[in-house]
Symmetry: C2
Subunit: 151 residues, 2 copies
């Protein structure tokens, strides 16, 4: 592959980086003071994917170091949004369970975010976004596997 074809890959990395920056800043500006997108992400994952996940499962889901997830979970626990219980199937491990306060936090955040997505939807429809997702997800899956193989 000649260097002339590298352009698109770098352009993708660039766009993804910028969107991530703006998106994170956008969301965090509408989240209660000391809560970050990472906190919101974990709570959402517990609701949408599976409650009672282990810290390692969460770290893998968000592709962050396990120490980072420990830190994020400690913050959520301090706010009383999650509860750490021992994992009945593995004494090394734990399970992360959402509390009612955690549910409430997510509901409130969604309410705060609603007007933002309202405005966004008028300029870039959710259908268009949905149409972009399969390719993005496949690309993510490809580099994810590539990463494991080159480990």
């Amino acid at each position: 592959m000649a260097n002339d074809n590298l352009g698109p890959y770098f352009a993708l990395i660039y766009e993804v980086g910028i969107i991530n920056q703006i998106g994170t800043a956008f969301l965090e500006a509408r989240l209660p003071g000391d809560l970050l997108v990472s906190h919101f992400g974990v709570v959402s994952h517990l609701i949408r994917v599976c409650d009672g996940a282990t810290p390692m499962e969460l770290a893998r889901a968000f592709q962050v170091a396990k120490t980072t997830m420990t830190h994020t979970l400690a913050g959520l626990e301090k706010h009383g949004f999650v509860e750490m219980r021992p994992n009945p199937g593995d004494k090394r491990s734990k399970q992360v369970w959402l509390t009612p306060a955690g549910q409430q936090f997510r509901d409130d955040a969604l309410t705060q975010l609603a007007p933002l997505f309202e405005a966004l939807g008028e300029r870039f429809s959710s259908e268009r976004v949905a149409a972009m997702l399969p390719d993005l997800a496949e690309f993510r899956s490809v580099i994810d596997r590539l990463r494991d193989e080159m480990k």
Copy 2:
């Protein structure tokens, strides 16, 4: 807009976050020890877009805080990859100019990265990536403007 349509937006943020994580880790693993993707990005920008850019232009291009760009540029300067000169048109400002060593750094990095993109290209063609770019760029542009308006 009902909440059922929020899904795609969150999914996009999620995918973008993961791709950013994996992509950054991937690139950084192949960059000389203490150089980061942010350094590579700045040098690339100076080559591809415009040499002699001001720190603020760079900060805006990558959507990072200006203090972050100061830090990144200090690193590049310490390595002798860029040179800071006074901006002839504005005494508050500076200009960032690439040195031959900076050029060399970028060439070397691209060489290191080549096999990676080789492997990637076999599984996800640069044409497919190129096809994704217009929508991503437009989405980026939309949220960028939205951000300014809500400032």
